[in-house]
């Protein structure tokens, strides 16, 4: 028996190529499409389904109605071209596309919207991509002030006033930190910024404005609409909700009882209420409760509500990431002598946020799509505009073309966000799991 059990390899085996039938397209198709009878049947069935949908959709899309001025004209053109059946009426897209993008924004100001979008892109680039030049970070710091100025216009000074508030707060924080300690300095910084905004900024900037009336023509919020409105609300809410959500998530995990109670209360309250309710509060109730002097812009109110709403969701997503971190990471950071904020910034958050990327981006996409709800309170986002367009006698009866187009517009943005998140996950992948 023993001679059968004992075995000694004298030569190690060389690496061989895998069998040809398992590589290349043939191998891929065999493994993924025609792997057994059941799968082959399903594959053929799926191919037929795709063909069926496309065979209906493509003729509908190819319709000679680009120049039509109304739905009736569309029908005449289709009949004149000798085609039958239900075909798309593209005239509405030609006529109303610009409106779907800009709403009722004055056409001579379109460049402002486009420039604002470019600046936002330039400001976000260094945050989103490593390869973007670091100098663009200046744009990142300034675009929250430049973009509203471009969109709403008016004198430049109030926007400068808001910016200076942050500068004042920063310098107070920086120079008070040594004397007062971190927490008191932070409070001092915030207080001094608010003192500037509430008491000083208005008179000082007003005085400068009367001497140097630099500015752009003022555009009322009522003129905002279309995709531009959706982007204004959506992007602001997205950019605002992430930092706010992180703060709320940390607050919820805090040992400080009152901080924790406030954060839990806020999150649970906001999550427990439908967004539409909050939007109604923004559009009607706030006007009743606030004194007339405090009345502020409807779009700003909506942005605040949408931001708070998404921040509550974001907080829970981030908390999930925090909970997934092993306790050892906190302990290692502590053992090295890092204080709470440094540990959060350098060790905990980079990992927790990385874990929560899919959830964060889902929330972003959700927020962006939820901006269509503002049509309920009478703002003319693309969906609100489509109702207005369909109420026009010329286009009464149009459905698929408009909603399809709006769907495509939203899809482009949401899909880009989704792809970006996958890129980010791949980039941040370190080592084996």
């Amino acid at each position: 028996m023993s001679d059968k059990i004992s075995f000694v390899r004298t030569e190690m085996l060389e690496q061989k190529a895998p069998p040809a039938s398992t590589t290349g397209f043939v191998g891929w198709a065999r493994a993924n499409l025609f792997n057994g009878i059941g799968n082959s049947v399903l594959t053929l069935l799926s191919i037929y389904c795709v063909y069926y949908v496309l065979s209906g959709l493509i003729p509908w899309l190819v319709s000679p109605t680009w120049k039509a001025e109304s739905l009736t004209q569309c029908r005449e053109m289709i009949a004149a071209a000798g085609k039958h059946g239900h075909l798309a009426c593209w005239g509405v897209v030609r006529e109303r596309f610009i409106q779907l993008l800009f709403g009722f924004y004055p056409p001579e100001g379109y460049w402002r919207v486009i420039l604002a979008l470019v600046i936002v892109g330039a400001g976000l680039a260094p945050v989103l991509f490593d390869k973007a030049p670091r100098k663009l970070l200046i744009v990142t710091a300034l675009f929250p002030f430049i973009v509203p100025f471009l969109l709403w216009g008016g004198l430049i000074w109030p926007y400068v006033g808001v910016l200076l508030g942050f500068v004042v707060g920063y310098f107070v924080l920086k120079y008070a930190a040594d004397a007062l300690g971190d927490l008191l300095a932070l409070i001092a910084g915030v207080v001094s910024a608010f003192v500037w905004w509430i008491f000083l900024s208005g008179p000082i900037m007003g005085a400068i404005g009367s001497v140097l009336p630099i500015g752009l023509e003022f555009v009322e919020s009522r003129s905002f609409g279309g995709l531009m409105l959706a982007l204004t609300i959506g992007l602001t809410a997205i950019l605002g909700s992430l930092p706010l959500g992180i703060v709320l998530a940390l607050g919820r995990q805090s040992d400080l009882l009152i901080v924790k109670a406030l954060c839990v209360g806020f999150i649970e309250f906001i999550r427990g209420v439908p967004l539409i309710t909050l939007l109604f509060v923004a559009s009607t109730l706030l006007n009743i409760f606030l004194p007339p002097s405090m009345e502020f812009d409807i779009i700003v109110r909506v942005i605040i509500m949408v931001t708070l709403f998404s921040a509550a969701y974001m907080a829970e997503v981030v908390r999930g990431g925090l909970a997934a971190l092993p306790k050892g990471q906190y302990e290692a950071a502590d053992a090295l002598g890092l204080d709470y904020w440094k540990a959060q910034r350098l060790i905990i958050m980079p990992q927790a946020l990385k874990i929560s990327i899919p959830g964060i981006v889902s929330t972003f996409i959700g927020v962006f799509k939820d901006t269509t709800l503002v049509s309920v309170i009478g703002l003319l986002d693309p969906l609100g505009l489509s109702n207005a367009i369909r109420a026009d006698q010329a286009w009464n009866g149009i459905v698929w073309e408009l909603y399809g187009l709006i769907g495509v517009l939203f899809f482009v943005f949401c899909f880009s966000m989704s792809r970006y998140s996958m890129y980010l996950e791949r980039k941040l992948q370190t080592g084996h799991k």
Binding site: G337, Q351, T430, G431
Partner: protein, 262 residues
Amino acid sequence: MSELSERTIDRSNMQVSDEVAIQINQMNKWYGQFHVLRDIDLTVQRGERIVIAGPSGSGKSTLIRCINRLEEHQQGQIIVDGTELTSDLKNIDKIRSEVGMCFQHFNLFPHLTILENCTLAPIWVRNTPKKEAEEIAMHFLEKVKIPEQANKYPGMLSGGQQQRVAIARSLCMKPRIMLFDEPTSALDPEMIKEVLDTMIELAEEGMTMLCVTHEMGFAREVANRVIFMDAGQIVEQNEPEEFFNNPQSERTKLFLSQILGH
């Protein structure tokens, strides 16, 4: 134990001085109702190499985790390098930056490279310029014999390599005391040796060390004192020679027979 015999240990720098590094007086700790550490009295002189042994749940990890306040004690006194551990955050941060710690599961930061793991604390806690911090880090990575891994991420390294990085990371803060919490318990036998070798080198340089470990070979060869804990108390402590050859308490005898018996 046999792993250690290949190497003769240079004892020239292993000297215990009169200076007190850690002083623990009548320290008690509870987890809720459970009395996990009971009346602990311990004085550690600078240069001592102490191995703390004992069955699991005896409180040995909790004890060394109290020394850098990863766990809070509720009664008694812990004085590290002349600074008493109280809830004063300044004292805690001061002690933590002078006491290095290695964990059973390494706890490297997986999102940072090996080099970044090592430079993080010097840069952000000690305000060392980045370049200098990197030089220090490379020095200690060479010391633990993995400078070539500096730009990899922890997930790409073996367990033994990760633990050596963790040691290097602690050393970059130039600690005066090193705490080891079962540094080899999560490692394969082949990797245990490389980590123990690193620890021996540290001991040879005169580092004050407290090690919770089951490596009795290490205790015999390197430690100058072995502490045996059970049920949250120090049951017996002695020089390794005496401790292993002539244990006094029944509990110690039983423990030694179980761990050395096979």
